[in-house]
């Protein structure tokens, strides 16, 4: 057993990549080393932004291996005179031995009587030291990066040009302390040039610390030695150790209540080799900025954790890649950046808030939405009309909801002309809501709807704005959110700019998923007549463009198909099996797009009942595929019991009749329908549907058709798999 140690010294690897790369390094090494018969054990990997490290125990040399090579059957190996046949001689020649040296054996344990010629190929194990350079090359090639770069590098492994995540600048490769030779060459004009990285026993510590020793090579003997020497050189190799140092640091500065760290410590951990948390102050006059603005600047732009009391952010915590000895000066630099940005933001806020948001609506006439689709003023007007259609024509909104949604639709885009949104585009919508509240808009549900109308952006249940909108406000928010997205979709589809393949430059898939999610999760109406019909809404959205859209019939059809597809995607993303989603979306009446929320209710019911009665549904699925095939040749007319000839016909007819008048929720109805399995099976066993007598045939087709339509109100059962 020997220790293999590999350190790949890189220029700074992006923090977000490190957890994945660390795992890959371990897994790829294990695969390659096992393939090479090195019996790897105790494989462990670590990383910092500047290094990927792997250690493992491996066999000192490969074990000698034997593998059987089978030849012709013994009967075919010798002729009548007992001489070797051509087949036997050929096999022996291929194995490089004389026929006499071959053995006999049983190839198939199930047929012990059949003997075959056998050659046992012995491979002598090679020394691990000889194999490791190939293993290193194999592992380097196998690491997958979110984005790779060319850095003019070349490896002598037969593949040549070598791309990686960042340039490699040094490499430690040791087997029990002795260097495993490996080189990366420069690639110049398509050919191998001088080596740029040669493996050795030398590593490098922190770029700048400790001050007196930084920049000096460090020789190491083993994994443990590397870890300890790096620690002395201000590098914490183990990410969990860095994270602990960060969390301790954060706890010591945060005060009694743990702050919302916005997930930053995990990112910090992989940004630095020696984390030290420092704290900066936010000047009192800047603390009154809206929390969303402060957080955007601190968390998203600077990666600092906001600290403070209650909703007041008064300080921030930041990570440094230092030992903390110069913290004061470093913090002064950080504060300067934060103050500059916040001062900008404060200026924007003061300027913006002077002018009522409603006054800005007119300015939207100067902001182009799309060359072919007019300005944002036009868009706001269309959104208002769409909300009017939802309220007055479709009856989806109560009068107060309609009024609030109409006001929110009118104001939703006005913040696009504010200084704050021009500077921080990610605050669009959010600032509109904040300014409406600051300016004392009388209806809270209007500011909430404006603030969140770009959402939802994620397909997961419970993702924002789940907690921000609730109750009656949810419908107001939903109306504005859907109006905005459907208007955008209708416009782009009208211009023929729908997504193709992986290209979706205008984010239309996300917009359509947002529409679907609003209708599934946020529209608070339980009564069917107050739930939106997406087919109707698509019609209204496309017509909102008037003559701008040349072929509105085509745009409606394409957009409806696109939304169906997104509904399918959202439902599948929630973990429902594809065949159940297809079954529900395949139901003819009602069409899923006419009431997506209801489709989801049906899906949940089908999923639940099918898992109780799996076998019944398997039988029904088979039967219904048959039924559909038969009915493909023509739908049946009415059913006349007088024409029944088999008992199975009457039995099925009676069962269908009972179910047709049955009420109740989808689950109860599906459970009852599962009971059709026996009569349906018997019908197909006993009855020849395509009877020669046309009257009998029509009658039987009619019965099948009625049976199918019982299910079609819930799901197309024939779509279910086994």
């Amino acid at each position: 057993m020997a220790e293999f140690l590999l350190e790949i010294g890189c220029e700074e690897i992006p923090a977000g990549w490190l957890p994945g790369l660390t795992q890959q390094l371990r897994e790829r090494f294990l695969e390659v080393a096992e393939r090479e018969h090195l019996d790897p054990t105790a494989v462990a990997s670590d990383s910092t932004p500047r290094r990927l490290v792997l250690r493992a125990d491996v066999a000192a040399r490969q074990a000698d291996r034997e593998e059987p090579v089978w030849g012709p059957a013994v009967e075919a190996a010798k002729d009548a005179s007992g001489a070797w046949t051509k087949a036997a001689e050929g096999f022996a020649r291929k194995c490089g031995v004389s026929p006499e040296a071959l053995q006999q054996g049983v190839k198939d344990a199930a047929r012990p009587g059949d003997q075959y010629l056998l050659y046992v190929r012995r491979t002598e194990g090679r020394s691990t030291r000889e194999i490791l350079p190939g293993v290193i090359a194999g592992v380097l090639r196998a690491l997958a990066f979110p984005k790779r770069m060319s850095w003019d590098a070349w490896i002598e492994d037969g593949k040549g040009s070598f791309v990686f995540g960042r340039p490699i600048r040094w490499m430690v490769a040791l087997m029990d302390g002795a260097v495993v030779p490996f080189a990366i060459h420069a690639l110049a004009e398509g050919r191998r040039a001088d080596p740029v990285v040669t493996s050795g026993d030398t590593t490098w510590g922190h770029r700048f610390l400790p001050r007196e020793a930084a920049g000096r090579p460090i020789r190491v003997r083993s994994g443990a030695d590397l870890r300890e020497k790096l620690r002395a050189a201000c590098v914490l190799l183990d990410p969990t150790e860095r994270e602990k140092r960060i969390l301790d640091g954060l706890a010591s500065v945060a005060g009694p209540a743990p702050p919302d760290d916005h997930g930053l410590p995990v990112e910090w951990r992989d940004l630095v080799e020696y984390p030290t948390v420092v704290v900066g102050k936010i000047p009192a006059q800047l603390r009154s900025l809206p929390t969303e603005v402060l957080e955007t600047v601190l968390v998203h732009h600077q990666k600092y954790v906001p600290l403070g009391e209650g909703r007041v952010v008064s300080r921030f915590a930041a990570v440094t890649n230092t030992d903390g000895s110069n913290a004061d000066e470093i913090v002064r630099g950080m504060e300067r950046v934060v103050v500059a940005r916040l001062r900008d933001a404060a200026f924007f806020y003061q300027e913006d808030v002077k002018r009522p948001l409603a006054d800005r609506v007119g300015d939207l006439a100067g902001v182009v939405f799309h060359k072919g689709l007019g300005t944002y003023k036009d868009k706001s007007d269309r959104m208002v009309r769409l909300v009017d259609a939802m309220g007055a024509e479709m009856g989806l909104l109560t009068k107060p909801e309609h009024e609030a949604a109409r006001e929110a639709a009118r104001l939703a885009k006005a913040d696009l002309t504010t200084l704050m949104v021009r500077e921080f585009p990610e605050l669009q919508g959010v600032m509109g809501g904040i300014y409406l509240r600051a300016q004392g808009h009388p209806w809270p549900n209007v500011s909430v709807a404006v603030q969140w109308h770009y959402h939802p952006v994620s397909v997961e249940e419970g993702s924002p704005p789940a907690r921000a909108v609730a109750g009656g406000d949810a419908t107001v928010f939903g109306a504005v959110s859907v109006a905005d997205k459907l208007d955008t979709l209708a416009g782009y589809f009208g211009l023929g700019l729908e997504p193709t393949g992986s290209s979706d430059p205008f984010g239309l898939r996300r917009a359509a998923q947002g529409v679907v999610r609003v209708l599934l999760d946020f529209w608070s109406a339980d009564a069917a007549e107050r739930r939106p019909n997406l087919v109707q809404l698509v019609g209204a959205a496309v017509e909102g463009y008037g003559d701008t859209i040349a072929d509105s019939a085509s745009a409606k059809l394409r957009l409806a198909a696109f939304l169906s597809d997104r509904l399918r995607y959202v439902l599948a993303a929630r973990g429902y099996p594809g065949d159940e989603v297809e079954a529900v979306l395949g139901a003819r009446e009602p069409e899923a797009l006419q009431d997506p929320h209801e489709a989801w209710v049906r899906l949940r019911a089908l999923h639940s009942v099918r898992s109780e009665a799996r076998v019944d549904f398997e039988h029904l699925a088979v039967a219904f595929k048959r039924a559909k095939n038969i009915l493909g040749s023509g739908a049946g007319a009415s059913v006349d019991p007088a024409l029944f000839q088999e008992a199975a016909e009457g039995e099925l007819h009676a069962a269908v009749g009972r179910l047709e008048v049955r009420d109740g929720g989808y689950e109860a109805r599906l459970r009852a329908l599962a009971g059709l399995r026996a009569p349906v099976d018997r019908f197909f066993d006993d009855v020849l549907v395509m009877a020669e007598d046309p009257r009998l045939r029509a009658n039987r087709l009619g019965l099948l058709s009625r049976t199918l339509s019982l299910f079609y109100r819930i799901a197309d059962i024939s779509k279910l798999g086994g």
């Binding site: 770069m149 700048f208 060359k371």
Partner: protein, 295 residues
């Protein structure tokens, strides 16, 4: 250290490391990358090392001289090393020391920040260099320019001169910077910032700029296709001009998201054609002098 001393130090430092010290490009550009000494020189196989100051105009960033951090025009110090040497990060850190910044006394970090110029059909892998949380440099390994995969790979180091000077002089307002021992940034540039901001936000004739945008691009294509070739530089200048005109229109807030995409695409098409024309003669006849193209 005054702003001009910073420039002197960087010029001395990079000249000592074999860089040609070039001059700013004499047309409006948004960044040092657009200078032909970067955009064209990174194409093709020939090694090159160059450094220069590039005044960079970003009309949308104009603030009438009222914002202490933001400028219509700022100054970049641009270094291009082709091919990128193995010690390029250390060489860069050495340049900070030459400016009197001791990295051991600060928090100097290389954080992922890939660079992309949609108008130039160019992108690269790299970092922003943060000094105590302040971005002072963009560091990029060019991967593509003008839509062409690059080999060898160039390293581009772009210093933000005002940012670095503010740090070194410990001032919070760019206009308080000392440009020379006697003269402040305010004295040199404040009025210009006001006037150029006013122009791009209030006075610029949007219709004229739309016309110019189309005509500049048309002229670029016309000269690029002119018989006899050898028009790459002229065509590229028109490409740069169209890009600046686009920036002025953008500053007026009159370009929508989707219009922007279309206009950027038009500029990129010309930039890519220029790059193709630049590398083509070299592909056909690597050793031939430019005169050969006259044939």
């Amino acid at each position: 250290m005054t702003l001009q001393e910073i420039v002197f130090s960087l010029e001395r430092y990079w000249a000592d490391r074999g860089c040609l010290i070039h001059q700013p490009w004499d047309a409006e550009v948004g960044a040092g990358t657009m200078h032909p000494e970067t955009f064209l020189r990174v194409l093709g196989p020939r090694p090159w090392k160059v450094a220069y100051v590039q005044p960079s105009r970003r009309p949308a960033d104009g603030r009438y001289g009222e914002n202490p951090n933001r400028l219509y025009k700022h100054h970049q110090y641009q270094v291009v090393l082709k091919p990128a040497p193995a010690d390029v990060q250390d060489a860069y850190l050495g340049s900070l020391r030459a400016l009197g910044i001791d990295p051991a006394a600060h928090d100097v970090r290389f954080e992922e920040d890939n660079w992309e110029s949609p108008t130039l059909g160019a992108w690269g892998i790299g970092w922003q260099v943060l000094l105590d949380g302040q971005e002072i440099t963009q560091f990029t390994y060019f991967q593509q320019a003008g839509g062409i995969d690059l080999a060898p790979i160039s390293a581009e180091i772009t210093y933000g001169l005002e940012r670095i000077a503010m740090y070194l002089q410990d001032v919070d307002d760019v206009y308080d910077l000392r440009w020379s021992p006697e003269v402040r940034y305010r004295d040199v540039r404040h009025e210009e910032e006001y006037q150029l901001s006013r122009y791009s936000f209030e006075l610029a004739d949007a219709e004229l700029h739309r016309t110019l945008f189309e005509r500049y691009l048309a002229e670029g294509w016309r000269v690029l296709g002119a018989p006899g070739g050898r028009s790459v530089h002229a065509a590229y200048d028109w490409c740069l001009k169209s890009s600046h005109v686009f920036n002025v229109l953008d500053a007026r807030g009159a370009i929508s998201v989707s219009q922007r995409a279309g206009m950027i695409l038009s500029i990129r098409k010309l930039a890519c054609a220029v790059a193709q024309a630049y590398v083509k003669p070299a592909e056909a006849e690597p050793a031939a002098p430019p005169e050969a193209a006259r044939g």
